[in-house]
């Protein structure tokens, strides 16, 4: 029940004048949700460069084993393990999470629901500071004796619990601390996302008037919070095994390595939905605007999201089919895993149906949003092969798995990011990005992307297994080496096109044409604020009169109808 709040003409209360804060206070120590969002966004994008560079180094080694990789050097087996471990961990925890969840959540929630900031701004700032600390600890882990952790992002003990096994004891513990700090930062962030979205809605904004991306973020935060606890417990136990000499996961002294796997994947599976949900939320916002159409069956989307969220807690052991769990358990998990394809399929169908009857413009953000759907479909269907326990006997730990999850994660983390950034750039920075450069960057990214991972599906089908630094040691895989070369070439071409985005981004930041309040003619509340919005977002907070997707309403002159317009 919304109470009507008289908006303060001066949201901070009191007649005192604002002195403009200094540069440092404004950009590095702010409690403003928009600045904190920028901090997460820029940090996440910088970490993407780090993890992207790592993939360059190890893919060069895989295509041309033993070569001196330009700008890196020789990829020894030890360095190879460290590179793949950290590429994976960084992309999930330090790119996808901060950009999609913390970055866009922080930016969008107050603006889309019509309030002036998050409910706990200082806690918000603290969450970023802890996140930043986790980044520092992780980077530091690369330069300690022994080097960065090399036990894969899944960190299975006993390899990860004893330095004598992994040969990266310091790196392993620092990595664990960095991950734990990241978890704490996001638990804190979640407090703000959920309470603000649930409590601080503008007067008149009912539950079904909330833009779908806000709901997605709320559900993602709940999934994260409900799943990360056991892994935090597990991380504490693993840290103690590594440093105190306990034996939680040491089978020679009564421990159980499989317990870690359960704790990890109980979190790990919901985690993929934690990052998926914001990305498909962003996709929905863009598709509706650029097809000038209401989101098809909004309520159905909500129910499928809740259904997916609940089901996501019942599938985790499909990562462990052949791990030594009781074989009878596999039957339970194959059923739940294959059933979860149903709500996901429904979501895809709804998005495709939204296009029907639309008036579609292919601006850069829309290209990214549409590419998300086209590519994620591949990720989704290839998951079926892995969820089917019988087939997984063969595919587990092969490049088929890797190609599957890159066809889900890449759309989520990379395509989702580009979609969101190109769409909200005018609002965030008050300038327009160049659409032509945007399109060149788009095609130069999407086409090579497929050249990287389609060959890797085939390589996996032929038996190519994971976390191997040189496939020429395996006679059956030597004839398939050409797929490795194609994949690496695809990556190189893709990397060549990325500076176009960086150039476009930074040049537009300083020299782009000025953006008006609502360049895309969208309905949601953020487009009624200035570009960029000031501290406090609006001089007077808006009231809401309708849902967010009233596009092309018959009988109205304009084909959009902002949520805050009285009539």
């Amino acid at each position: 029940m919304a109470e009507s709040i008289q908006a303060h003409p001066h949201p901070h209360g009191g007649p005192h004048a604002h002195e403009e804060p200094g540069f440092f206070r404004k950009y590095f120590y702010s409690t403003d949700h928009k600045i904190i969002a920028m901090q997460y966004l820029f940090t996440g994008m910088a970490m993407a460069l780090v993890a992207g560079f790592m993939s360059y180094a190890f893919r060069m080694q895989l295509a041309f084993p033993g070569m001196h990789v330009p700008l890196y050097g020789l990829v020894t087996p030890n360095r190879y393990n460290t590179l793949v471990t950290n590429h994976g961990a960084i992309m999930v925890f330090w790119v996808a999470m901060p950009v999609l969840l913390a970055g866009f959540a922080n930016y969008l929630i107050p603006l889309m629901i019509g309030c002036d900031d998050m409910v706990f701004p200082k806690l918000n700032r603290l969450s970023y500071q802890i996140f930043f600390l986790s980044v520092l600890v992780l980077i530091a882990s690369f330069v300690v004796p022994g080097g960065g952790f090399g036990g894969a992002w899944t960190s299975y003990p006993p390899l990860s619990s004893r330095g004598s096994f992994s040969l990266t004891p310091l790196g392993a513990s620092m990595w664990l601390v960095a991950v734990a700090l990241e978890f704490v930062a996001f638990l804190m962030g979640g407090i703000n996302f959920v309470t603000t979205a649930m409590n601080s809605r503008a007067p008149g904004m009912r539950m079904y008037d909330v833009p779908i991306v806000v709901w997605m973020i709320v559900v993602a935060s709940i999934l994260f919070m409900a799943s990360v606890g056991p892994l935090i417990a597990g991380a504490i136990m693993l840290f103690m095994d590594q440093n105190v000499g306990t034996a939680f996961f040491d089978p020679t002294r009564g421990g159980d390595p499989i317990l870690w796997q359960h704790l990890f994947w109980f979190f790990g599976h919901p985690e993929v939905y934690v990052v998926l949900l914001p990305a498909i939320g962003i996709t929905a916002e863009i598709i509706t605007v650029f097809s000038r159409k209401k989101l098809f069956a909004y309520k159905t989307v909500l129910y499928t999201v809740f259904g997916t969220g609940v089901l996501s807690f019942t599938v985790w052991a499909h990562h462990q089919f052949i791990a030594g769990i009781d074989p009878r358990m596999a039957n339970v998990f194959t059923i739940t895993t294959l059933l979860i394809s149903i709500p996901i399929a429904e979501m895809m169908f709804v998005y495709i149906a939204t296009l029907y009857g639309g008036s579609i413009t292919l601006a850069t953000p829309m290209l990214w949003a549409l590419a998300f759907i086209a590519e994620f479909l591949i990720g989704g269907v290839t998951g079926i092969f892995l969820g089917a326990s019988g087939a997984d006997i063969y595919f587990h730990d092969t490049y088929f798995v890797l190609a599957h999850f890159h066809y889900t994660f890449y759309p989520i983390a990379i395509i989702g990011t580009f979609a969101g950034v190109t769409y909200w750039f005018p609002k965030m920075f008050g300038r327009m990005m160049n659409d032509t450069l945007g399109k060149i960057h788009f095609w130069g990214t999407i086409i090579p992307f497929n050249f990287i991972f389609i060959p890797l599906f085939i390589f996996g089908m032929g038996g190519g297994h994971r976390r191997i630094y040189d496939f020429t040691n395996f006679p059956e895989l030597v004839p398939l080496q050409k797929y490795n070369v194609i994949a690496t070439c695809g990556l190189l071409v893709m990397l060549v096109f990325q500076p176009i985005f960086l150039f476009n981004f930074f040049r537009s930041l300083f020299r782009g044409p000025k953006a008006e309040k609502n360049p895309w003619k969208a309905n949601t509340l953020e487009w009624t604020a200035e570009s960029p919005p000031p501290h406090g977002n609006w001089p007077e907070l808006p009231t809401v009169y309708r849902g967010p997707y009233e596009y092309s309403v018959p009988g109205r002159e304009l084909d959009y109808w902002p949520q805050n317009a009285p009539n």
């Binding site: 309030c115 979640g190 959920v194 409590n199 606890g229 056991p230 892994l231 504490i236 317990l259």
Partner: protein, 192 residues
């Protein structure tokens, strides 16, 4: 600039004041963390007979005394909340001080208990039972300590009739800390 509360903080479209919503969120996330440790412990216990033997060495009387201390401190927290509802800041603060005293007593008793156990040779690496014992109780003790610190801060404000709504919030947190102990006590001290 940052001392002022944003308007976002004062709305409650969900029907619950924001502070309370936030505390319940924190409690939920802590439940999952402790749930993970406790579930792991139970799994281990069910599959390793050696656990039951090791558990025989915890001191049920000390455990029971600490349970009594925590429950009593929770009672003071409830009285503090009642006082805060009535607007009686100084009384709420006094109740919170008594709650904190309970928490500190718990920690002092625990330190004596652990010193004794370590001297007897039951260290964190003695066996997996003891690893769980020290890890779970240690994590809990950290939450008791953190709770006491926050409670003292809230009490200092309450004495001056400031932020009285926070008395209820820290009380909710304290009850949670209590409930975790209510799970740990039977698992580690009674089931022998």
């Amino acid at each position: 600039m940052s001392a002022a509360r944003p308007i976002a903080n004062t709305r409650s479209a969900a029907g619950m004041p924001t502070g309370r919503l936030a505390v319940w969120w924190v409690i939920a996330s802590e439940i999952v963390i402790f749930g993970g440790i406790i579930a792991s412990y139970v799994m281990f216990r069910l599959s390793h007979d050696a656990f039951t033997a090791a558990a025989a060495n915890t001191n049920t009387w000390i455990g029971a005394f600490n349970t009594f201390v925590l429950l009593t401190s929770s009672l003071f927290a409830v009285l503090g909340h009642k006082a805060a509802e009535e607007g009686n800041g100084p009384k709420a603060a006094r109740m919170l001080y008594l709650t904190s005293l309970g928490g500190l007593t718990f920690l002092v008793v625990k330190s004596f208990e652990w010193t004794h156990e370590i001297r007897e040779g039951f260290t964190i690496t003695s066996s997996t039972f003891w690893s769980f014992y020290y890890t779970a109780c240690g994590l809990h003790a950290l939450h008791v300590l953190g709770g006491v610190i926050i409670m003292l801060i809230v009490a200092a404000d309450a004495r001056k009739y400031l932020e009285l709504h926070r008395v209820e919030l820290i009380g909710i947190y304290w009850h949670f800390v209590d409930v975790v102990w209510i799970f740990l006590f039977p698992l580690l001290y009674i089931a022998k």
